[in-house]
């Protein structure tokens, strides 16, 4: 049986064709690099994805800090991981690479901060006074 894939590893987006018999992959064609072949193997056996979203930052200079998985997680766990991330609130300041969930749902991936967020200053209040006067 032939199955087609679009590799998502890099922007080349290689179009791949795999020849599959039962559970065995006979051949993979179309990849510009070996990562394409690895992608197909994984996609057939245990499709995985990375996800990126945000967490609430308390007292942050901005309200959200972006986060991502450090390693791909099983595709069918995406929404469960999202639920875990939604539960998290962090206190400013937060640093890039800071781990906010270790080994999320035992899936082998951490959730890390991808944007440093400092503590909110009182600038807004000052501005308001200027308007009022």
């Amino acid at each position: 049986m032939k199955r087609e894939f679009t590799c998502i590893v890099c922007p080349n987006s290689c179009e791949l064709v795999a020849e599959i018999e039962g559970k065995e992959i006979k051949s993979i064609e179309g990849a510009l690099c070996k990562r394409g072949d690895e992608y197909v193997v994984q996609e057939i056996k245990d499709p995985k994805r990375t996800i990126a979203t945000s967490v609430k930052v308390i007292d942050g200079e901005i309200p959200l800090a972006s986060v991502r998985t450090t390693k791909p997680i099983p595709k069918d766990k995406i929404f469960e991981v999202m639920e875990e991330i939604k539960k998290v609130k962090v206190q400013a300041p937060v640093q890039i690479n800071q781990v906010i969930i270790e080994n999320v749902l035992n899936l082998g991936s951490d959730i890390i901060i991808t944007k440093s967020v400092g503590i909110q200053k009182c600038i807004e209040r000052v501005n308001k006074e200027v308007v009022a006067s």
Binding site: V55, K56, K89
Partner: protein, 485 residues
């Protein structure tokens, strides 16, 4: 609290707001009921922004009288209200002998109405006035001017407010009853307002308001006009409003090109009778037609210059079959005391608003002696436009107030200070389009792509609102559903 007023004005368009302002010259307690969340949501804000000279209207009509008066007196009003106004003149262009005859008649009509300076000019002179306007012959009107209809109406309302008039938004009038020498006005949210005098300046809905007091002989026929707004780059090709010879039947002035006071160009309006009074949709047919006609009149215009379209609805008193114009109706009936009805105030309503308001006051004076308000102040200060200032002045402004140093709307160079002043406008309007109509932010080529998020954020902060309470323009027009986290 019982809402008791001397006068209640229904409708806060340009006419309602002008009446409110004119009435604050006297000792009156004035309440204005508006069904939308701001002034200028309907006809008053949805037009070409032209202060007409008054040659299009029949001699002897109220339209002719008020239009000429309004135009001649506009400099004073503009100065008092601190609003930009330019008498840039206007060309009505023709190509054929037949057109020539119509233009001559228009001039004759204008002369009779008392419009100063009208001239029939040759192709050569047309080119001198604006080299890009095509035409073999034209009627040139030097008195015609342009104004920002949003700012004008807002300024009238704000000045009325400063002088004591109270504005209520989101108050749609659903019933009127006369009780003991007094009108009881019920709004959709079930509030009751009482007043001795009632003024119906409800524009598109003025026929319905009239019916609530038993006047059944008027029907407003909504007639939609669609426009395209062109990028300021297109204004390089057009100096003055250029109109075709009017087509009597259409009941509009024909698709024309108008430079706006803010430097854009408008193409439109079309004319299409509708069944609904608030269907502001744009249609593919008309949009295609406007692009075709606009590029025909000004071939330099490119597709990329079209940045937005909008439509307005004329409150016409004539049906499609009749065509043309009916005169303004401004009446006070003996059997319905202390009520003034203004019906069919369509073009040139923007130009005529102040004379109409004065006329309304005159009518009231016939019934009641009015006591002058000694504290009336005709001067209103607008929001200072940062980008129009010299560099030296800009530097000073920032020094005085750092909020001028923060540009929020990139396309129109609108500063945070201007946005804040708009958010804290005297009328208490809280919508996103309220800020837009007061500052021009989000009106530029990126249409809010850069600044809308910032403005929404400022509204939330300044007005201490929940995210889901931010309204775009009309009631229930919620921008957001809540927070992400």
């Amino acid at each position: 609290m019982k809402q008791q007023y001397d006068v209640i004005i229904i409708g806060s368009g340009v006419v309602g707001s002008a009446i409110a302002r004119e009435l604050t010259r006297y000792e009156f307690k004035i309440g204005v009921l508006e069904k939308e969340l701001d002034v200028v949501c309907e006809t008053s804000g949805r037009n070409s922004g032209v202060i007409h000279a008054g040659f299009n209207n029949k001699p002897g009509s109220l339209m002719a009288k008020f239009c000429v008066e309004g135009c001649l007196g506009f400099d004073k009003v503009a100065k008092e209200l601190d609003i930009p106004f330019k008498r840039i003149g206007k060309l009505v262009t023709g190509f054929t002998d037949e057109d020539m005859e119509i233009l001559k008649k228009l001039k004759e009509q204008g002369d009779k109405n008392g419009v100063p300076g009208l001239r029939i000019i040759s192709e050569e002179e047309i080119k001198k006035i604006d080299p890009n306007v095509a035409g073999k012959v034209a009627l040139y009107s030097p008195m015609t001017g342009i104004v920002n209809p949003f700012i004008y109406t807002i300024a009238l309302a704000e000045n009325a407010y400063q002088n004591g008039a109270v504005f209520f938004f989101g108050r749609e009038v659903v019933a009127i009853q006369r009780k003991e020498e007094c009108y009881e006005v019920t709004t959709k949210n079930n509030e009751k307002y009482y007043a001795k005098w009632l003024i119906n300046s409800a524009g598109l809905n003025s026929d319905q308001i009239a019916r609530m007091v038993g006047i059944t002989d008027y029907t407003i026929y909504p007639c939609r006009g669609e426009y395209f707004i062109l990028d300021q780059k297109a204004s390089a090709y057009l100096k003055v409003p250029a109109y075709p010879v009017p087509n009597k039947k259409e009941g509009g002035l024909g698709v024309h090109l108008t430079p706006t006071i803010d430097g854009n160009v408008l193409i439109g309006p079309s004319a299409e009778y509708l069944d609904e009074k608030d269907n502001y949709a744009a249609t593919k047919e008309v949009m295609d037609k406007l692009v075709a006609e606009g590029t025909k009149i000004l071939p330099q215009i490119k597709r990329e210059h079209f940045i937005r379209n909008f439509s307005g609805i004329r409150p016409k008193l004539v049906e499609k079959e009749t065509g043309g114009y009916a005169d303004f109706v401004i009446e006070q009936r003996e059997e319905i005391p202390n009520m003034i009805n203004l019906i069919g105030i369509e073009s040139p309503g923007l130009t005529s608003a102040v004379p109409i308001a004065r006329y309304v006051v005159e009518k009231m004076k016939q019934k009641e002696e009015l006591k002058e308000n000694q504290n009336f102040n005709p001067i209103r200060k607008g929001i200072l436009n940062f980008t129009e200032q010299t560099d030296e002045r800009k530097a000073e402004l920032i020094k005085e107030n750092p909020n001028y140093g923060e540009i929020i709307c990139r396309c129109e160079s609108i500063t945070k200070q201007e946005i804040l002043e708009a958010i804290h406008n005297p009328l208490g309007v809280e919508t996103v389009t309220g800020v837009k109509n007061r500052t021009r932010a989000m009106m530029g080529r990126c249409q809010g792509g850069y600044c809308q998020t910032r403005i929404a954020e400022l509204i939330i902060q300044e007005k201490q609102k929940k995210v889901e309470e931010v309204i775009y323009s009309r009631q229930q027009g919620k921008m957001f559903v809540g927070g992400v986290r």
